[in-house]
């Protein structure tokens, strides 16, 4: 089967029942996607499938056949420079231990794609599926709001 990961077509030949999370991490070396609970509660494994945030621990790889998957490794610009959102996460102190950061970035990225100037309430709503234990969310919300245009 085929799908695209961060703009590149990948071929996967194993069981379609395997978790997308495991295929990304173990077969494709995309270890930026993290496992926090394996039950869809924490959002550390968030990736984008056709532009929607999903918990990759709850998705069988067979379900993404022919679809477009984006992981944190796909967020930087083509030339490798950090995206505005990634820079804002560093500048505002939105990443502490960093384990929730990949999922958090992807959830925020989707929000900013659809909402140019999100409000505090919209940011909180968009990030509610991604748990962070370090920041108290304040600096993450500030970072995301700073990217509103």
């Amino acid at each position: 089967m085929h799908f695209t990961l961060n703009g590149r077509t990948v071929t996967f030949e194993g069981s379609g029942a395997r978790r997308l999370l495991d295929v990304l991490r173990e077969d494709l070396g995309a270890t930026g996607t993290k496992e926090g609970c394996g039950e869809g509660e924490c959002g550390a494994c968030s990736v984008l499938v056709d532009g929607e945030v999903v918990d990759s621990c709850l998705v069988a790889v067979g379900q993404v056949e022919g679809r477009d998957v984006v992981s944190v490794e796909g967020l930087a610009l083509q030339d490798g420079t950090l995206s505005r959102l990634q820079q804002a996460f560093i500048e505002y102190g939105a990443a502490q231990c960093g384990i929730c950061t990949p999922g958090m970035l992807l959830a925020a990225h989707v929000l900013l794609e659809g909402t140019r100037r999100p409000t505090d309430a919209q940011v909180r709503e968009a990030l509610a599926g991604n748990l962070c234990r370090c920041t108290g969310y304040t600096k993450i919300i500030e970072a995301v709001m700073s990217c509103g245009t």
Binding site: Q86, I90, A128, Y137
Partner: protein
């Protein structure tokens, strides 16, 4: 040319780019060729004796490595304070809690591993477990602190009010988002390399040496990028590392032992629950006469760090106040639950919760404002604490109280009939660094190298767990050396490369280790300039206790901490009177941090710690069943989300401490102390009911409102 100082500047986090691109490598991200997967088989009973362990002969055990207590080459002990916790419970031996490790398995794939686990049969002779504090007979430790006279029969005194109250605090899980994990790799010469998610490389190093009978050089412990700790990765990683090492040794190949969330929640240490009773005597004019305090903490099945947690709980029990007569009696008891251990705040949040609510209760009895009462009672410069410590500098009690009151917005009552709003305040202090002679005994050491290419390398075992160690230590070195930040690098946290700088705990890293880095950098700069010493060379610095600090461990008298950080928290809540649900809407915190070396990171510590405390106070609940946790999944153990988090405002008050780098005091744990009592006071303000127990779940709030 002198570079501008990075101190007080919120420079980019050292490992920030790696963390936002997914390049940062956490333990489970590491690809280790030929590694097998490990698994821990655990007790299903809370107390008893292991009658037999049997492996189903119908299963092909040739594909699996099995480790029991008989495979431990050294002592069957997880080295810490007391040698009571076995690495693995043995056949014929006792188990003291559910989820106690009994047997280890490793296999090439997870399917075989799970299958093997299903073919093991462990039989027990169960004994009657102890779960209740008042039924516990085994005591881990006791502490008594006394100051002045204990006024035994206060009720007979004229014009004296005596207020008595009892408080209860619950279990809490650290809930770092990266679960516990370690990879063990056998190396030539009988060495074992551990790569793991951990706070204290040398704790693991010592534990590994003892259980596996290794020399200093044979035990190599390396910290991988670590996805949160909060104390949960202080002592527990020693257990994980020893288990992984035993499997790797027997398998003759690397073994990955990575917990899933369920195992992590079910088996690892939690914040100590407990009961705190207060009896406070005041004059009618509000003068504080006497505090009589009793603390009982539940240590669980093994001792772990319980005596040290109890010590901090006891020392902080009187709160941020000056009282002439104090008696604090504290004890920690054994029960048959999984052991409790280190968690941000380390006993102080428990005892300060009670101390702060006592101020409220006394104020209510006297009919005065609790803010005015705090101002009357608070420790000020020159005052003496319960242990007899005279506060000679950097006492921020009034500064933070004033700063928080000034910053807070005008209170807006609710205009909805079913939703009530309330506001509450707390004032706390937190001892920065180790208690008493802790630092002196430890003598933490760092190294700093001037390298031939003109860069400098810091050698420390202090770990980055999100709080900013890597950035702050580099800021301090760059400042003292007068070089750009990019000229300073950090050696990996690898025990074969770096000296023992002590554990990354107790709000000590920036203040104690940072000061050593600063001293080393000053010496290097001096040698480069005056002696024209040619690099490469290395300077080492160890902590030296100032003579002015005196501490008597037997009497609990003296300077309990080198300095205290202070915080005032003001919480606004909304209580839904139909459901009992409490929403913390706003949190204003003023913190006396001495000096904010990196303001954004300092605020980050306060905000993150505060939200952890909001969770502890409101929604984080663990219910027990037969000695196990019922809330052992993230679907049932809830922590605050972005929707639950209050709007937070942090005011950093800089009130320098003479021995901290640029005046900095440790603040990592401080924010865990203040929010819970402020929230309970706010709930009272909103509803008129006092809760004496946290978490303030909807059930408890509704029950209290109905019974009023």
């Amino acid at each position: 040319m002198v570079s501008p100082s990075p101190i007080g500047q919120s420079v980019p986090r050292r490992e920030g780019a790696a963390k936002v691109t997914g390049a940062a490598r956490y333990t489970d991200d590491l690809v280790i060729p030929q590694a097998w997967y490990g698994k821990t088989v655990r007790s299903t009973v809370a107390r008893g004796r292991i009658r037999s362990i049997s492996l189903d002969s119908g299963f092909d055990w040739g594909r699996v490595v099995v480790v029991t207590a008989d495979d431990i080459p050294g002592e069957n002990v997880v080295h810490l304070i007391r040698d009571d916790q076995p690495v693995l419970a043995r056949e014929g031996g006792e188990v003291r809690h559910k989820e106690e490790p009994i047997l280890l398995l490793a296999a090439a794939d997870r399917v075989t591993l799970d299958e093997a686990a299903r073919h093991i049969r462990i039989e027990y002779d169960s004994a009657k477990p102890v779960f209740e504090l008042d039924e516990a007979t085994e005591v881990y430790s006791t502490i008594e602190i006394s100051k002045g006279e204990v006024l035994e029969d206060l009720k007979d005194l004229k014009d004296v009010e005596v207020v008595e109250r009892s408080f209860k605090v619950g279990l809490q899980e650290q809930l770092y988002i990266e679960p516990q994990g370690a990879i063990a790799i056998p190396e030539p010469g009988g060495a074992i390399r551990i790569i793991g998610s951990l706070q204290c490389p040398y704790y693991v190093h010592r534990a590994l040496k003892r259980a596996l009978k290794l020399t200093d050089a044979q035990a190599i412990v390396v910290q991988a990028e670590t996805g949160g700790g909060f104390g949960g990765k202080e002592e527990y990683p020693s257990m994980v590392a020893i288990h992984a090492a035993l499997l790797a040794r027997k398998a003759g190949r690397p073994v990955r032992l990575i917990y899933d969330r369920h195992e992590d929640l079910a088996a690892t240490t939690k914040r100590h629950p407990g009961v705190i009773r207060h009896r406070t005597a005041v004059k009618q004019d509000g003068t504080l006469l006497s505090q009589d305090i009793e603390i009982v903490l539940d240590g669980g099945g093994y001792c772990t760090l319980t005596p040290v947690v109890l010590s901090r709980a006891a020392i902080h029990a009187g709160g941020a106040y000056s009282c002439p007569n104090v008696r604090i009696r504290a004890r920690a008891v054994a029960t048959n639950t999984p052991p409790n251990g280190a968690f941000r705040g380390f006993g102080a949040p428990q005892s300060l919760f009670a101390a702060e609510l006592m101020v409220e209760h006394v104020a209510e009895r006297l009919g005065v404002s609790s803010v005015d009462l705090r101002r009357k009672w608070m420790l000020r410069l020159g005052d003496t604490t319960a242990t007899g410590q005279v506060l000679t500098e950097s006492v921020g009690s009034e500064l933070v109280l004033d700063a928080a009151l000034k910053a807070v917005s005008t209170f807006q009552p609710s205009n909805l009939p079913t939703v009530r709003r309330g506001r509450g305040l707390s004032l706390v202090l937190h001892g920065s660094g180790f208690t008493g002679s802790g630092e002196k005994k430890l003598g933490g050491t760092i190294g700093l190298e001037a390298l031939a290419d003109g860069t400098f390398r810091i050698l420390t075992a202090s770990t980055e767990i999100g709080q900013g160690t890597k950035t702050i230590l580099c800021q301090l070195a760059a400042d003292a050396l007068g070089v750009e930040m990019d000229k300073v690098v950090l050696a990996p946290q690898d025990t074969s490369l770096v000296p023992d700088s002590g554990p990354t705990v107790a709000s000590r890293t920036a203040m104690i280790v940072g000061r050593l880095v600063q001293e080393a950098a000053i010496e290097i700069k001096d040698r480069l300039k005056r002696e024209k010493a040619p690099p490469p060379f290395r300077v080492q610095k160890s902590y030296i206790q100032p003579d002015s600090l005196r501490w008597d461990e037997t009497t609990y008298k003296g300077d309990a901490y080198p300095i205290y950080a202070w915080a005032c928290t003001i919480a606004d809540v909304e209580v839904d009177m139909t459901t009992g649900e409490v929403r913390v809407t706003d949190l204003v915190t003023a913190v006396d941090c001495g000096k904010a070396l990196h303001p954004v990171m300092a605020e980050g510590q306060i905000e993150g710690g505060s939200l952890q405390a909001v969770g502890w106070a409101t929604i984080e609940e663990i219910k027990m069943k037969d000695g196990g946790y019922q809330n052992d999944r993230l679907a049932t153990y809830l922590i605050p989300t972005a929707l639950d988090a209050p709007r937070m405002r942090t005011i950093l008050v800089e009130n320098p401490y003479s021995r901290g780098p640029f005046g900095a005091k440790g603040i990592g744990e401080l924010p865990m102390d203040g929010p819970a009592p402020a929230i309970i006071a706010a709930i009272h303000d909103a509803t008129g009911v006092w809760l004496d127990e946290i978490p303030a779940t909807p059930e408890k709030v509704l029950a209290a409102c109905i019974s009023r």
